[in-house]
Amino acid sequence: MIKVIDLKKNFIQSDGSSLEVLKGVNEEIKKGEVVTVIGPSGGGKSTFLRCLNLLEEPTSGEVIFEGVNIADKGIDIDLHRQKMGMVFQQFNVFPHLTVKENITLAPVLLGKMTEEEADKKAMQLLERVGLKDKADEHPNKLSGGQKQRLAIVRALAMDPDVMLFDEPTSALDPEMVGEILDIIKQLIADGMTCVIVTHEMGFAKEVSDRVLFMDQGVIAESGTPEEVFNNPKNPRTKEFLSKVLY
């Protein structure tokens, strides 16, 4: 579904120098697969994820999504992004719209649904995540966990083929982490293709088909959760896991 070929990303820093953050990443994510990305801070996990939907423009390399190289300059990226949902650490819900409007805005504006259809869909989605009674509130009335639930269903309303999560629980109070992870598990059970950057090792172990360990701008190790967590081959993976697991 998503194939990444020799993906490189340099950031120009404020002092003018160039920082190589992705140093040639190759990866293929298949339809229905659940891939989690783990690794130390600054290793390039977010940058990798954000390159998948061109939120960061790759310096070089290809990102092939459903057969099209979306890193190509001539492509209408907006069209392809409709098929890729993204959930951020900081929720990024729209504070000036009601909960329901947050969900209906894009499908209606992009002509995917009529207003009635979008309304109906929004209510279904809100019911599914227990926010039905908040439909007409503004997001400032919601807790962090509720905001993140809203952000997830907002992305789902576009009927994406893949969902990208960048540390969806890192900004949450501990007691709300579980509810968000449960919603993601539900999605996975429904067969959604997911790429999830996370620091929740237990969760990664439980839900992943494959785990990517990212460090210093490359995928240093990749394999099933058993392989990566129980039998890591790369010394850097071992070191990282020994720090986060105990």
């Binding site: 907006d78 992004r81 890729m84 993204m86 990024n92 000036h96």
Partner: protein
């Protein structure tokens, strides 16, 4: 007490000068300036956040120059330059309006820009991730949130302009300060005349402040 008697006397004789040469022209000048300034200011702001590099540079330089030089000096430049560069004959009033409008447009463009920048960058990203174009995200997500910061600042700019139009008196195009020059020229009562025009400006801006306050409250209630 003679002072107040003089003021009453001046007002009873020359109120028409203050009102017609003065207040009405100041209001016209301000309204034209604010309108043109807001429209031009929006265009400048859009140009500055666009992807067209040369346009960006030119507008950034223009804003820097206008903000970095005295307004009176700018009005002199426009007063002499506008009639020279335009192929048809223009009034002095017109040249001054152009000068005031461009000056205010530059300040207003900064108001718009900082309003847009006050919106968290994550909002743009969230919009784009849903498949909205940059323009759709601006219209539906960024600008509605930026308005809250922009409107009060724009109101302040309006009040500033009312006071700034007094500089136009240098060119005798007629506004409150011009009416002061006229009446003082006849009566030689400098201090009394100054008091009157000060009161006029004060009342004008006070009314404006109140009106803008009401408007802002309305907008908040609509939230």
């Amino acid at each position: 007490m003679e002072f107040f008697a003089n003021i009453v006397e001046i007002l009873s004789k020359y109120w028409k000068v203050f009102l017609i040469t003065g207040v009405s022209k100041t209001l016209i000048l301000s309204i034209i300036t604010v309108t043109c300034g807001a429209i031009l200011g929006l265009l400048i702001c859009l140009g500055r956040i666009s992807k067209i590099k040369p346009l960006k540079w030119v507008l950034t330089a223009l804003v820097a120059v206008i903000r970095g030089t005295p307004m009176l000096l700018q009005l002199y430049v426009f007063y002499f330059l506008v009639p020279k560069v335009l192929p048809f004959k223009v009034s002095e009033f017109f040249s001054i309006v152009v000068g005031l409008s461009i000056n205010s447009a530059c300040y207003v463009s900064e108001v718009f820009r900082s309003g847009i920048e006050s919106v968290d960058h994550g909002q743009m990203e969230a919009g784009r991730c849903l498949g909205l174009s940059k323009r759709q995200t601006m219209q539906k997500i960024i600008i509605p949130q930026a308005i809250k910061t922009i409107l009060p600042a724009l109101g302040n700019e309006f009040i500033m302009i009312v006071n700034d139009t007094s500089l136009a008196s240098t060119f005798f195009v007629g506004e409150v300060m011009t009416s002061y020059l006229i009446v003082k020229g006849i009566t030689y009562l400098t201090f009394e005349c100054l008091t009157i025009v000060a009161a006029i400006y004060f009342v004008l801006t006070l009314i404006l402040t109140k009106l803008l306050g009401i408007l802002e409250k309305r907008l908040k209630e609509n939230d």
